[in-house]
């Protein structure tokens, strides 16, 4: 296997007493779309700033294309950043903005204009060349920022919550466009967000971060279906979490004692370990037993109709601290106040070390 394009090796960073990154290691493949996903304070933006050269980590190394870039200033490294507030140069035309990086490289005016026009055409803004940034809408400024960063052909494009300032509709639309542009130019994109939908839609490689650590990383399908930790099971999509103690583990089957009784599921675990059993909303069934694992009775608290499905919140009658989060079909006749049996399939339960 070839060396990764970006290699982050045990990077730690602290602001004063506060450790914001705790020995983070991450490899990024050429041409990939990587999403750093996490809540605010998870260290994802700091990690991006370290990649961009705006922050020098307290410990650890960053290699880009095999070269040690840990302390290299932003101007000298093959990365460009699309800032959350776009950071366009207000006194320059759109063409001047996009051509700025080439101007710094000493490219002559005519070539610069031609390349800037090309980059603007790529983001669908060919007509805006002579406009000033303040004449553009938020979405258009976002595209200019993207064109400005891409025109100098960086090895890695860093995007800091690029869709955060846009309204929901525009965000979904820009999201599709970002992915299309990334496929067309083939540059590796690293994109920071706290929006798990954005992450699932865009990522080839999804990195879930929490409290300065990487909780889980991999293709978004895998991270969703088989999250590695309890945090990523609740942050990347929702889950119902059952805490239990393993009573028996043999022949690839684990039996855990929970507040709802013993539950057996496929998996391996040391005996007597405390485990968390996560169940995705679409895997919970309400009503007469449809699954092979019964989870007792639950009193329905809230039913929210969401178009294609109903989101149901129910409280277990066996353990009032346990909340079931489920997706029921839109046609399901479930009402708040009903007490109904809950079940699921053993193979859909995700076994997590607690």
């Amino acid at each position: 296997m070839s060396a990764p394009l970006v290699d982050i090796r045990s990077v730690s960073h602290r602001f004063g007493q506060l450790a914001v990154l705790k020995s983070v290691s991450l490899a990024i493949e050429p041409g990939s779309y990587t999403i750093l996903l996490g809540p605010s304070g998870s260290g994802k933006t700091t990690l991006l700033s370290i990649l961009g050269g705006f922050v020098t980590p307290s410990e650890g190394k960053v290699f880009i294309r095999g070269a040690d870039c840990t302390a290299l200033p932003p101007a000298k490294r093959p990365t460009t950043t699309v800032f959350q507030d776009y950071a366009l140069f207000p006194h320059m035309s759109v063409g001047g903005n996009v051509g700025f990086g080439l101007r710094m490289q000493g490219v002559d005016g005519a070539t610069r204009a031609a390349k800037a026009r090309e980059a603007l055409a790529l983001v669908g803004l060919a007509a805006a060349f002579d406009k000033k940034p303040h004449q553009l809408s938020g979405g258009q400024r976002q595209r200019v920022a993207l064109a400005r960063a891409l025109v100098i052909e960086p090895a890695v494009l860093l995007l800091d919550e690029p869709l955060g300032a846009l309204d929901l509709k525009l965000r979904r639309q820009m999201q599709d466009e970002l992915k299309a542009i990334q496929k067309r130019v083939g540059t590796a994109f690293i994109h920071v967000t706290h929006d798990q939908e954005e992450a699932m839609a865009l990522a080839d490689h999804c990195v879930v971060m929490n409290e300065g650590r990487i909780e889980d990383e991999g293709p978004p399908e895998r991270v969703y279906a088989r999250p590695a930790t309890r945090f990523s099971a609740t942050f990347m999509g929702e889950s119902t979490i059952l805490v239990g103690t393993v009573t028996e583990a043999k022949n690839g089957t684990v039996t855990a004692m929970t507040a709802l009784g013993p539950i057996s599921l496929p998996g391996v675990s040391p005996a007597d370990a405390t485990v968390a059993l996560a169940i995705r909303p679409e895997h919970l069934f309400f009503g007469e037993a449809k699954g092979n694992v019964t989870l007792g009775m639950a009193k329905v608290g809230d039913v929210v109709f969401q178009g294609s499905f109903k989101r149901v919140l129910a409280t277990s009658t066996l353990d009032p601290a346990l909340q079931f989060i489920a997706k029921a079909p839109a046609s399901a006749a479930i009402q708040a106040g009903d007490t109904i049996p809950v079940s699921c399939q053993a193979q859909d339960i995700i076994l997590l070390a607690d």
Binding site: A75, A87, L88, F89, G101, M104, A149
Partner: protein
């Protein structure tokens, strides 16, 4: 009753503005006097005293000196003020708040004290009384002003703009010249024009620090020692007119709100 209150308000406003502006109006009016004394009755209008001012070599050379000192000292003030504001806004410095306070402190010290202090210092250092000395004095009073104006306009939003420039390969001096200065241009021009205004009609420091070649306010003072005549009114009106123009420029540059 209500009409009476309104009338009183108008009378009050007219009295206040009259109190503020009447001296200037009188000065300008009698600069247009046709006879030799700037006292009623008004005999003009006539431009003969303006002609007299412009044909007086001492006054015109003082006027040019004043312009020179104002332009150069303001350029120096605004350059240093911008650099210090940028430094304070972009870098974490030990004791930053105290240093910022110190740099703006001269704003609160009287010009007389600053002038005397510089006189003593220049005497000791062997710097002769000159336009250069007065110019340095004007930098001392105007640098804090430029700093305060420019620093107040430096927002965090510009940090990312400068970062973006660095990220795209700009060297630090290019970031300053091509990004930071143009982005801050309104505040920089405002600082420049306000410095010009203050330097242009500054008297005490120029009086203390110049000798043979001097600035217009000092020359006017010399003129006044030989008594009032419409020529002093005319030159005073010229000074006032230039100040008005500078203040208008200042207001236009600082108060003009650009769409974001």
């Amino acid at each position: 009753m209500r009409a009476a209150v309104r009338l009183a308000a108008w009378v009050y406003a007219i009295a206040i503005y009259g109190f503020i502006f009447l001296p200037v109006v009188v000065l300008v009016l009698f600069s247009l006097q046709a006879t030799s004394f700037p006292i009623p009755p008004f005999t003009g209008p006539s431009l003969r005293w303006y002609q007299a001012v412009l044909s007086d070599a001492r006054l015109t050379s003082a006027l040019l000196n004043s312009l020179l000192v104002a332009v150069l000292s303001s350029l120096v003030s605004v350059t240093l003020g911008f650099l210090s504001a940028w430094g304070f806004a972009r870098f974490v410095l030990p004791g930053s708040a105290i240093l910022r306070g110190l740099i703006t402190l001269p704003l609160t010290v009287s010009y007389l004290i600053i002038g005397m202090g510089l006189l003593v210092l220049f005497n000791w250092a062997g710097v002769p009384k000159s336009l250069l000395a007065a110019g340095i004095g004007h930098v001392v009073i105007n640098l804090p002003l430029c700093f305060a104006i420019i620093y107040s306009q430096m927002g965090d939003h510009q940090i990312n703009i400068e970062r973006a420039a660095r990220d795209l390969g700009a060297a630090e001096w290019k970031v300053l010249l091509m990004i930071a200065v143009p982005v801050m241009a309104p505040a920089i021009f405002a600082g420049f024009f306000l410095s010009m205004t203050f330097s242009w009609d500054e008297f005490v420091i120029s009086f203390l620090l110049t000798r043979f070649e001097t600035t217009l306010p000092v020359e006017i003072w010399n003129l006044l020692r030989s008594g009032l005549n419409p020529k002093t009114n005319a030159v005073g009106s010229l000074v006032f007119a230039v100040s008005i123009v500078l203040v208008v420029f200042f207001e236009l540059t600082l108060l003009r709100r650009k769409p974001a």
